[in-house]
Symmetry: none
Subunit: 210 residues, 4 copies
DNA sequence: GATGAATGAGGCTTCATTCAT
DNA sequence: TATGAATGAAGCCTCATTCAT
């Protein structure tokens, strides 16, 4: 009569702990001991649930991406149907008011971009995540084009540009907030997309700031 | 009678070695031994010229920023006078053909954004560098506005947006190149700036790609 | 289910190893590796049980003092009641026959006096130990005074003088034995205390030597 | 036409610097660099004048002892003739007012006692110094005995006891001053010597303190 | 599942000493 | 004499990982 498995629980505990520590000290600075402490577990147990530190990193990245995806879909779900509003919501979601409510996730995301440079598996997970968002945006744009709301050459290029802008604003927000005039991020991003897509109706004023 | 000082040379040797290694393995992954080897020196000597690894990191960041600044100015020098051409050149410099001729510097730059999250001195140097570029761009925009070539609300916000876009493209280029349709970066950035500034004349077609 | 803790054992193992090595090579000369070897452990494990080399030093000093205290009390316990005999025993314990049966402890004690000069925590532990012995002696003297066996001004001063003499003989014994005429230490100390306290009965002839 | 040698000068500069640093950080803690800085020289030059760090240590000990000897003789010179006054002066010199005017020398002396434990040459120099003082004291006592001023068994034992007491007070003064009641050291030492030598006239009240 | 001991490798740094100038 | 560069050897400590219980 073995005790019921709690591996799933433990694994999230651990990845959450990992994220907390990594946000503060970076990947190499996050020792298994620290992670364990943050997860209120012991170091030995961490290795019972994960084969190696590297696996924790991958799992954490996975969690981060999954959570982001869910939240994004939740936010956009309400806008189904109108590409302009959807694009608008998408930008606000990333750059509008309260966009960076989760600074640890933001920090980790930036750190993962660095990890992607030296680890193949991180790179591919990271790239996949970016590609997925780009695809999501591209889809919206295509719909807009199909409905005659947008014009412009390549939806993929435009999507890619928006992803880049968002990613860049993330970096600025996390490292050099003072470079971003208060509240300008979402608005500027929208105007930039206007330049790319010439929408039939203007993208809405942002109700927030970054 | 004493041996002439060669500290300056040695220090650049070391920071260059550091950059090479850090690009490949990250900051923590760059051991003093590796750095020394890359600089063709002994590990002990590295500490003779730098008080600590951290100092090397700061010096390397400093070098990187200085070099970028010089190259940027050299590129823009030829365009003096016309804000539109200057903005154009500025975008091409960062995102146009051959923009990423120095992949090691690019990788380090991204890694430094991560380091900025956990180290105050890196953060301030990094932020200062970004701010300096933003200021540079802002100046150009102001000139354009003064000459009636640009219109639009805040030059600072627009500059910040361009910096974000460039930074974001850097990340994509280094980690997820496949997300950027070939050659779209500079063009998209220009169209985005068009959306922000409504230039009297169109920003030029890019002659390159990212 | 977990392995039972053996930290206490390990810690004494380590402090004992430390004392052995320190006696031979001094504090700085006692490398963690050497200490580990002397304790038949690995270097890594030493740091598992002690946060730093400095903590080992403090623990060792603590052990040394505790052991000395126990032995002293054991020796004196038999004399309870008669201050003269107790003082006599106290001197014999420190300077009489077989007093320096533990040359490693003696060496470490002297080395600790040096360490006390540059480390606050060592100093305070060292001073506390000396003060405790002085207090012990002072108490005996007060009893003697109360019983009309001793006369003389300050019991504290006399106690302090005896502590100094003992400490000084320790140094001589460990570094310059030839300066001490065979067997003279305890006897001289007793006559010196006679000069200070004018005891009703003479302090006994020592049965040993230093 | 070689420049005039300044080796002697330099060597004292260096030993003085050494003493300053060693007093603060111990022998191992005194790096050649620190010593050089304290002597306002460069590290390389230190090795030009001394073959090794160890030689500096010996030279410094030698200087210390020489200086102590000179000062002691100067102080005692005035008392020539009367053993009681001379003994008195000798005790005051070591334990009386202003005795520890040179705390660096005191600290080094204590540290040297530790070094003596692990280095043969230090030990022999240290022991020689102690023996020399003991001999000096012994001489005075013998004179006193010859003049019928002192009585008691072994002048050597008494001398040794006084040396021990002084040395012990040094340790207490440097590490645990609070254990010594203000001003009691010299007085107690004198009464102790009274106990050992039964002088015809009392040893004088000390005019100082320790 | 869980704990805590244990290992062994490796990293940063310090430093005495040597050497070219 | 004097300087400052250079070397190479340790040393302390951290840590991912394994293992006995």
């Amino acid at each position: 009569m073995p005790r019921p498995s709690n591996t799933a629980e433990r694994r999230t505990q651990i990845t959450q702990g990992f994220i907390k520590i990594m946000a503060k000290r970076g990947y190499d600075g996050a020792s298994i001991g620290d992670i364990a402490k943050a997860a209120r577990l012991t170091a030995g147990l961490v290795h019972y649930h994960f084969k190696s530190k590297h696996e924790i990193r991958l799992a954490a990245l996975h969690d981060l991406v999954a959570q982001h995806g869910e939240r994004l879909e939740a936010r956009i779900a309400q806008t189904k149907g109108d590409p302009i509003i959807e694009l608008d919501a998408l930008i606000d979601f990333h750059l509008g008011l309260g966009a960076n409510a989760d600074p640890e996730a933001l920090a980790c995301w930036i750190l993962f971009s660095g990890e992607a440079l030296r680890d193949t598996r991180v790179r591919s997970a990271f790239a996949k995540a970016l590609a997925s968002i780009a695809r999501r945006i591209s889809m919206v744009i295509r719909q807009g084009v199909a409905q005659g709301l947008f014009e412009g050459p390549s939806p993929d290029a435009a999507a890619s540009a928006l992803v880049a802008t968002i990613q860049g604003y993330f970096v600025l927000a996390a490292t050099s907030r003072e470079v971003i005039p208060r509240g300008s991020a979402a608005d500027c991003a929208k105007q930039m997309m206007t330049g790319l897509l010439h929408p039939a109706r203007p993208l809405g004023r942002s109700q927030g700031r970054t």
